[in-house]
Subunit: 289 residues, 2 copies
């Protein structure tokens, strides 16, 4: 290593991580290093540009804290988060989509069917679905972790007016894999626009800060690959410009006006008609490639 040249530096830097005992970590570090070097070589990165990149990362770190990760947001808006979701999605199963920053572990377990509306303003809707394997067989041991924003666009963590755990729950499906959640229609909202990801990057690019309205779901069942996904409102105007590239065709679901007095009554909805969204959630076997 005594004489580091342009021809040798990438190999020398890669070689310096040969001692990482975990084979997978070694591959990750060496591959990322190689691609970062490829970037610098491809654009002939100048000192000024390099310093600008470091200063940007510094600003991203400055605004991040325990309850806010601007690094996650950066990953989201360059499509990296969604790429990881897509890499994990298996053919024949429901595609994954971004987890986002508002999931928290440990939502209350509630009985299925469930009514989350409480005192929330907003348009009442009934989300009805079924969890199955890729052959269409119901998965009676499946459970859901569900969360969404309120009519003002905010998740409960960001809104002192909302009770703790507002519009979120965990539940187990029925023996036939079915579930029913009475809730309100989720609304579109903006990613944070007070940090460097917005001010130094997206705003300059004329990007939209909007995310189309969506429900978040994590679907789990023993022996099956956990599914982290979202369901999108088919009428949302921002479907084509989701700031974090989360929209997949199979996740865009229409609302339909249905007449189902029994369901409405069971779920505590006034009247005998409601807006309904239906979804099949299909899990791949664990370890399936």
């Amino acid at each position: 290593m005594k004489n580091i040249t342009l021809e040798k530096i990438t190999e020398a830097a890669s070689q310096s991580f040969e001692g990482l005992p975990d084979e997978r970590q070694r591959l990750l570090v060496q591959t990322l290093l190689k691609q970062v070097h490829n970037f610098a070589r491809e654009v002939q990165l100048s000192h000024t540009e390099w310093r600008g990149l470091l200063a940007f990362l510094h600003r991203v770190g400055d605004i991040s804290d325990d309850s806010r990760s601007e690094f996650s947001l950066l990953s989201d808006v360059i499509g990296l988060s969604s790429l990881v979701d897509l890499l994990a999605s298996k053919p024949g199963s429901t595609p994954g989509s971004v987890l986002g920053p508002f999931h928290t572990v440990g939502s209350p377990w509630l009985a299925n069917p469930v009514n989350l509306i409480g005192a929330n303003p907003g348009q009442p809707v009934l989300l009805r679905g079924r969890v199955s394997d890729t052959q269409g067989q119901p998965l009676p041991e499946a459970s859901l972790d569900f969360w969404q924003n309120a009519a003002n666009g905010l998740y409960w963590q960001l809104d002192p007016q909302q009770p703790r755990d507002n519009l979120r729950c965990q539940l187990r499906v029925e023996a036939d894999g079915s579930f029913e959640i009475a809730t309100i229609r989720a609304v579109a909202y903006q990613i944070p626009t007070d940090g460097p990801v917005w001010t130094d990057l997206l705003q300059l690019a004329g990007r939209s800060p909007w995310r189309p309205a969506h429900f978040h779901l994590i679907v789990s069942a023993p022996g099956y690959r956990q599914l982290v996904t979202e369901l999108f409102d088919a009428e949302d105007p921002y479907l084509d410009s989701d700031a974090v590239f989360g929209v997949r065709e199979a996740l865009v679901r229409p609302y339909q006006r249905v007449s189902d007095a029994a369901a409405c009554q069971r779920l505590g909805l006034a009247g005998s008609e409601c807006l309904e969204m239906r979804v099949n959630l299909i899990l791949a076997k664990d370890g399936a490639s």
Copy 2:
């Protein structure tokens, strides 16, 4: 963009930055994005690994502040900083090497020849050099910005025992391009080992934290490309394992014991012998490709 698939996401994410009005910035963002996507695809990055990467960046941000950039250190130890130096180095000129975190703008201008030893313990040395163009013609309008660490391994900013601006200065060369700096021999030192770059990455890889002893120099002259470089002590045991990949053959300089009573007296060194390091610093014309 309504249906983001594994095949389409990289193009969609790249396309989302088409609105960046600065052509060069657009190229940088789109190329970096492409290489980050390439990395995720090449290793089939999992959710767990992706979260680990974000958490690492979060920790790098946490320990960074106005006087410490762990992002710079990360760039250094993966060879990115040196790669940028090498990309900027032009054939025939002295190669560049890492700026490092201890340069500050505005060192005191002192008259050439200069004696920086003052009350510093350490082995006195005489650094003698000449600044020229690639044809060997002296550059009488050149100036130097010089800094180094003290005998305890510390730069003055990190050491309350050292006076402000200890062992650093700016100076103008003579009409023949020459300069003389009486100083002490720089010593090897360790990169910071209290942050995530060390504890979560280099330590696991069994990497050395040492940097071989070096002087820092920035050489400027009107009409010439500014040179940011280092000069290394040829006897240093860490030349082959510099933690930041800064060593280039042309920058490794031997000390020689010389007898030069006039120089010693001029520079306030006791006796008529001293350790001397000689260097030719060659600048490329501005804009030379």
